[in-house]
């Protein structure tokens, strides 16, 4: 770990002021990922601005939505009564992630901005375009079981590791930012980027910008929603594939609306828009679920170790939608 200075920000404007103009400054949430990366010398900040003292409230909005302070812990958000009642997929996604100890430390803002767990990114002896642009990618022909099947590029096949973000993507969450140029908002689905030829640039955040809050719009049918994570052990493992889904079926059994997002498959939380489009207006049943899954994964490509994830994603989508339909199949 490199030496660094540590500042604790009293409020948002103080945090932004502390980090302003300092490319080597990083905002510090729970540190559950950033500090690991510092230990591996992948991140070498010269200054840490601790933002855990910033707003952490979880407040229902008049419109039925929810405003979540970026410093709220993962544990607090998963335990929140409003979240559990109105957005159960979010509570389940968070609880599927990490371990209880890590969730107690991790913040919502930090969870969103956590970086890939690609081991070649972590190992400074390996070639990684994300860590060192232009260096190459050892993952593409290496151990890539956890890597992307959608939206990858020749430069990078890493995945975004968050569970929470998959639920947020399905819920059309908005991320509120503040920074040297003032506050702004961006859809969660637009915040993370696909790798393209610059996998080192992972989000649309500008220099010095800070996530201050996440807002969930009301979504009545999210009461019927869930999150399923498929992984290599029962706990404390990143997703091979995960599915966040909410389903709205009318009285005749036709899909009125649906939200579907995938984790573990791409460089960003993957909103499954093609599947959603294929499902709307179709009868809720295994055949249309499978067709929707096929539509979403049509563009998927497999690497040496991860081609199974294409079929796994399809099956998990079908299973999750089936579960939400009340169909055991």
């Amino acid at each position: 770990m490199n030496p660094f200075t540590y500042e604790r920000a009293s409020d948002t404007s103080a945090a932004i002021e502390l980090a302003k103009g300092n490319a080597a400054a990083r905002y510090l949430g729970g540190g559950t990922n950033l500090v690991d990366l510092m230990r591996e010398t992948v991140e070498r900040p010269e200054m840490l601005v601790d933002v855990t003292g910033l707003p952490r409230g979880i407040e229902p909005r008049a419109d039925g939505g929810l405003l979540i302070g970026a410093a709220a812990t993962n544990t607090a958000l998963a335990a929140d009564g409003h979240v559990r009642a109105h957005y159960p997929l979010l509570a389940r996604a968070i609880l599927a992630g990490a371990s209880a100890q890590i969730r107690n430390m991790a913040t919502v803002g930090g969870n969103i901005l956590q970086r890939t767990r690609c081991r070649y990114f972590y190992d400074t002896a390996a070639a990684c375009n994300k860590r060192q642009p232009g260096a190459g990618c050892d993952a593409r022909d290496g151990f890539n079981r956890y890597h992307a099947i959608l939206g990858a590029s020749p430069a990078c096949v890493a995945t975004h590791p968050s569970d929470m973000c998959v639920a947020l993507a399905a819920l059309d969450a908005t991320v509120h930012l503040d920074g040297p140029a003032g506050p702004r908002s961006i859809a969660l689905s637009d915040l993370h980027r696909l790798p393209g030829d610059r996998p080192d640039i992972e989000t649309e955040l500008k220099a010095g910008e800070l996530i201050t809050a996440v807002e969930l719009p009301p979504l009545l049918f999210a009461r019927r929603s869930t999150y399923r994570k498929v992984r290599d052990r029962a706990s404390y493992a990143f997703a091979l594939v995960s599915v966040a889904a909410a389903l709205d079926i009318d009285d005749s059994g036709v899909v009125r609306d649906v939200r579907l997002a995938l984790g573990g498959v791409a460089h960003k939380p993957w909103r499954a828009s093609a599947a959603e489009a294929a499902l709307k207006g179709r009868p809720a049943g295994p055949e249309s679920f499978r067709a929707a899954a096929e539509a979403e994964l049509a563009a998927a490509t497999g690497l040496r170790d991860n081609a199974f994830k294409i079929e796994l994603a399809k099956r998990t989508i079908v299973a999750v939608l089936g579960e939400l339909t009340g169909d055991d199949a």
């Binding site: 767990r117 070649y120 050892d138 498929v230 290599d232 052990r233 706990s235």
Partner: protein, 765 residues
């Protein structure tokens, strides 16, 4: 005042009343009392209070902290090594590289001499040559651990690569046969097994593969070392104390008595807490700096410089008659190894002793790779060998339409199938019967895919566990009795968490006939009488042999002291027993004198006796092994292929159980590690670089709490008449057979045979 007795020599063991291995039995074989009781760990309170001092917790004046920089190529020469930035970093005391390291002899390979402890015999930081990806290239000493870590990250090296073999597929094109496999022949042939296989009515012939595993004990490898002149003091996390001290003396050119190594507490050993580069480098750097040094590896560091279990590729071929009796048993294969170590992963060992077959062919080879020396890891050989063999037995049972337990009943041998020796004690079928009844084996449908709960297919499987009994000679024990009736037994052995000290305190209390509260068991320090290693499930029996010998001398000395004025007058060792805090005639309750009385009458305030264990003749005369029957129930998602172990039961035949509580924990721990072997564990060795990619606990998957169901443990508790206390070791058998039990259950659930571990979900989709 004390008196020191001569060590018992071999001929003395023929004296009446002495235990003569293979000839007489340990007299306390059937004595109960403290033995077997579920006594809680003696060191438990210290550990839960944080008062147990581990290797990285010993304070020293002027202590500095070490961090390592590792090579990033598998083979080559260092052409440039830039340490300037590291040396200039805050708090740095010095940077040691091959350029300034003290000259040291290379370690000798373990078992090559009585003091050899080397996991590899490569010189340590003596030249510019790189032999594996992750080899230490620099040691940084600094005032704090953080400063050392930071400075180590600033060391830069350039390499001139040399051709490296980092692909197993390449390496196995030029296999090599070892002279011996841990002293056993690498090839065993009885009859013409290949011909018998071809002619057999029913055949199974399959290849099984197991991957590399890494040691991941919860305590990171650590040592605190200090020099005083030419005396070296090492606080280590260690499971072979005397060998480590002897080896360090040899490396640094010291008299053996100048090196003291202690290791009172170890946070898990499993074969990994032996002598690796970090202790040697810490001693060297401490010498160079003239200051005490603490080194604690990072988790990545453990993956880089502490070897693990090597990968195996095994063929098992079984030819049987329609009644199940084996015409041919073939178990052959190859493992990855290096030219600088000696750990052959003896996967053919189970097949040498388990089943009767008319013809047998067992052979194993190695494929040399440029990699970190692989090493012993809980049941080396047996853990992965039983995976292949016991899966094949299950496959054969299915082809024969026989219950797999019934098949094993039919191939149960009368005598050891390869050595022909009699078994000292073998109750494998009892273990199966007991386990099957308790587990509800009769509810298993032999046809796969017949049980389900929603998307979850449910299956049951079983497999044999086995591990050899072994007793190392050379260990000694000292008994000190004080006038107050307190007994201290001392020997330089190890407790890595398995409960050695607790079980031995029970043993000593029972053997000397004193309350356990009067017993102190001293261990973990090379200033004590020479001990044995804690490895190969040998330590308990080996200590037992030494304590028996010391106790015999103890009784003889007391009889001498008792003299003619004692009720014991004229009695010999063979006529007496220890009981009630003293010595009594075996058949005459009235002839008794307490230890305190004997000491008082002879005017002594203590008696000290020391003796060495008699040679392990029982191993020559008998085939001695522990056995077990592992039962597993799994649930497999038909959608995702995820496997969850829903029930597990291990039924063991491991001789006398010395402590029901710690033994059960040992068995369970082995089974949990076996669940990891079956389902999750694999070190990803990148064949392009020879580097382990998943060098962290986040990415190298050991089972977590949710992967482990309630585990039930049964045991026969039948004393082995040839073993001290009747006990065979139990540290390793728990992991054996688990891989096959899980794989066989997965087959029963899904109809899919997975022959390469770990059984990840993609293999079942």
């Amino acid at each position: 005042m004390s008196m020191q007795s001569d060590s018992a020599n071999t001929s003395a063991n023929t004296l009446p009343g002495r235990w003569q291995p293979a000839v007489t039995q340990d007299p306390m074989l059937h004595k109960h009392g403290a033995l077997g009781q579920p006594v809680s760990r003696i060191d438990g309170p210290l550990k839960v209070q944080g008062k147990a001092q581990f290797a990285a917790e010993f304070p020293y004046e002027g202590l500095c902290y070490a961090a390592l920089a590792f090579s990033t190529v598998a083979r080559g020469r260092i052409t440039a090594l830039d340490t300037a930035a590291a040396e200039a970093a805050p708090g740095v005391v010095l940077v040691m590289t091959h350029r300034n390291a003290p000259r040291m002899k290379a370690p000798s390979l373990m078992m090559s001499s009585p003091t050899a402890a080397g996991a590899s015999d490569l010189p340590v930081m003596q030249d510019d040559e790189i032999h594996w990806n992750g080899q230490p290239i620099a040691v940084v000493l600094a005032e704090t651990l953080e400063q050392a870590d930071h400075a180590a990250s600033l060391v830069r090296a350039d390499y001139a690569p040399l051709p490296a073999v980092t692909s197993f597929d390449e390496a196995k094109k030029t296999p090599r046969q070892l002279d011996n496999i841990l002293g056993q022949p690498p090839v065993v042939e009885i009859g013409d097994a290949e011909a018998a296989l071809k002619a057999a009515a029913v055949q199974v012939d399959q290849i099984y593969r197991t991957p590399r595993h890494n040691h991941n004990a919860i305590e990171l490898h650590a040592a605190t070392v200090a020099w005083t002149g030419d005396e070296l003091r090492v606080h280590d996390a260690n499971q072979l104390l005397d060998l480590t001290a002897g080896q360090l003396a040899d490396i640094f050119g010291l008299e053996p008595d100048k090196v003291r190594v202690s290791s009172p507490f170890v946070g898990g050993g499993f074969g990994g807490k032996c002598l690796w580069d970090h202790q040697i480098l810490a001693c060297a750097a401490a010498k160079l700096a003239g200051r005490p040094v603490r080194i604690m590896l990072s988790r990545e560091g453990v993956f880089r410089i502490v070897g693990g279990r090597t990968l195996t590729e095994q063929r098992v071929a079984l030819g049987a008659g329609t009644d199940g009796r084996l015409d041919a048993l073939i178990h052959t294969g190859i493992v990855a190894m290096t030219t600088h170590n000696s750990c052959p992963e003896q996967f053919t060992f189970p097949a040498r002793h388990l089943y009767a077959a008319k013809s047998i062919r067992l052979a194993q080879e190695v494929a040399d790779m440029d990699m970190l020396a692989n090493t012993f890891m809980r049941a080396p050989g047996e853990s992965v060998g039983t995976f292949a063999l016991e899966c094949a037995i299950d496959e054969l049972a299915e082809k024969l339409s026989l219950d797999p337990i019934e098949l094993r009943r039919r191939i149960e041998p009368e005598t050891d199938p390869t050595s022909g020796k009699p078994f000292s004690s073998r109750h494998l079928i009892d273990a199966y019967d007991k386990g099957a009844a308790r587990f509800g084996w009769d509810r298993r449908n032999p046809k796969p895919r017949q049980r389900r709960d929603g998307e979850w297919l449910i299956g049951m499987g079983c497999a044999t566990a086995t591990y050899p009994y072994h007793r190392f000679p050379g260990g000694a024990a000292r008994i000190r009795l004080t006038a107050g009736g307190q007994v201290t037994v001392s020997t330089a052995v190890h407790d890595m968490g398995m409960g050695t000290a607790t079980a031995q305190a029970q043993h000593i209390a029972a053997r000397l006939g004193v309350p356990i509260g009067n017993v102190t068991f001293e261990y973990g320090d090379t200033t004590l009488p020479r001990g044995v290693i804690a490895g190969g499930s040998t330590q308990t029996a080996s200590i037992g042999g030494a304590v028996i010998a010391a106790a015999e001398v103890f009784v003889e000395e007391l009889l001498k002291l008792a003299g003619n004025d004692s009720p014991l007058a004229g009695l010999s060792l063979a006529e007496v027993e220890t009981r009630d805090g003293g010595i009594g005639h075996r058949e005459d309750a009235s002839r008794f004198e307490s230890y305190e009385s004997i000491l008082r009458r002879s005017g002594r305030d203590e008696l000290v006796c020391e003796a060495e264990a008699p040679p392990p003749a029982e191993m020559e005369a008998f085939s001695m092994h522990s056995y077990g029957a592992q039962f597993c129930e799994v649930r497999v998602s038909e959608i995702t292929g995820e496997v969850r172990v829903s029930r597990f039961l291990g039924s063991f035949d491991a001789g006398r159980i010395l402590n029901a509580k710690t033994a059960t924990s040992q068995f369970k721990g082995g089974i949990i590690m076996g669940i990891g072997l079956a389902l999750t564990e694999e070190a990803n060795f990148d064949p392009r670089s020879g580097r382990i990619v998943n060098a962290s606990l986040a990415d190298y998957h050991v089972p977590v709490q949710m992967d482990v169901p309630a585990i039930e443990i049964l045991y026969t508790d039948i004393p082995d008449p040839q073993a001290p206390m009747g006990a065979r070791g139990i540290g390793e058998i728990g992991i054996t057979g688990v891989g096959a039990a899980v794989a066989n259950a997965v087959y029963n659930a899904t109809g899919k045979r997975i022959r390469d571990l770990p059984i990840t979900l993609d293999k079942l989709m």
